[in-house]
Symmetry: C2
Subunit: 190 residues, 2 copies
Amino acid sequence: MEKQIIEYLSKYTVITKELENAITESAFFKNYKKGDILLKEGGFSNECYFILEGCIRSYFLKDGEEKTIEFYTEEQVVTPANYAKSIPSKYYLECIEDTVLNVGNPALEKEMFDKYPQLESLSRVIAEIVIANHQETFTEFKTSTPEERYLYMLKTRPDLMQRASQYQIASYLGMKPESLSRIRKRLMKK
Amino acid sequence: MEKQIIEYLSKYTVITKELENAITESAFFKNYKKGDILLKEGGFSNECYFILEGCIRSYFLKDGEEKTIEFYTEEQVVTPANYAKSIPSKYYLECIEDTVLNVGNPALEKEMFDKYPQLESLSRVIAEIVIANHQETFTEFKTSTPEERYLYMLKTRPDLMQRASQYQIASYLGMKPESLSRIRKRLMKK
């Protein structure tokens, strides 16, 4: 599993043998079951995650209904918005599959960044890529019809259809379950 | 103007006198006129910006119509998605007011980060705040009605109503200009 992290990081920078060893030695893994909640609305967060296997869904409740914000899958970083801050979370994080995570915390992060500034530099680069991707997804969303949004998801994240429920995907796409089902039927006829 | 940058950065970390001097000496400012284009669709980007005064709009063309992605105003960082990469931009960046920018480039960035790792650390922290804010805005957008979206903008970024045209704001909110005008009329009657 350590290998997977090194491979991921190597996409962005050269990982020296020394850094590889440090990461391998400090890496901390946890196994979760489908349905496990990593963070609750109103809760505090002192952990960030790198997904080795599985799927995490973020959602919140609006008028008693679950509204899915995001799905995170393999090789994605999940940093709760309130990570290491003393403010309550606005949303839930739930494992919707059995999930294996590399778990980080502020103390470990600080230790590693102090020792290996290259790692902090890498975190910045990755954060900037995440920003650019977010922006693209948001733009696509804002300027698309519901059907186009669904097609964009099929193109960019086809695995989600197998991993999440129709109900979760509908709210993720900002539509009602009935609308999603109507769109799918229409497209199948084409 | 240098002071404004130092004040902004001081919100996130302690800026030593030495770092303050380095920033002040290396800071590079440019003035732009309303209507100036900083980046074109298909163009390459070797500059990132910190807005001291003014407003930048990002947009792209879809079927000949301008679709506004984002408005950036004072104390916001604008890093084009293709910054320092050899890929063409998917959107335009336009000054919609006379604008004063602190302009960065990859060489200067590298020099400053190498010399002051604290600055890179700060960039990472700010990037993570930007990610959390993006996520919140996107979530709000996805789970809101058009009227709620408009009210959310009035609450979080009331200045935009004065700075941008109705046409630009409508597409920023993901709706047609007629829908925005209908919503505004309805709310004024309340």
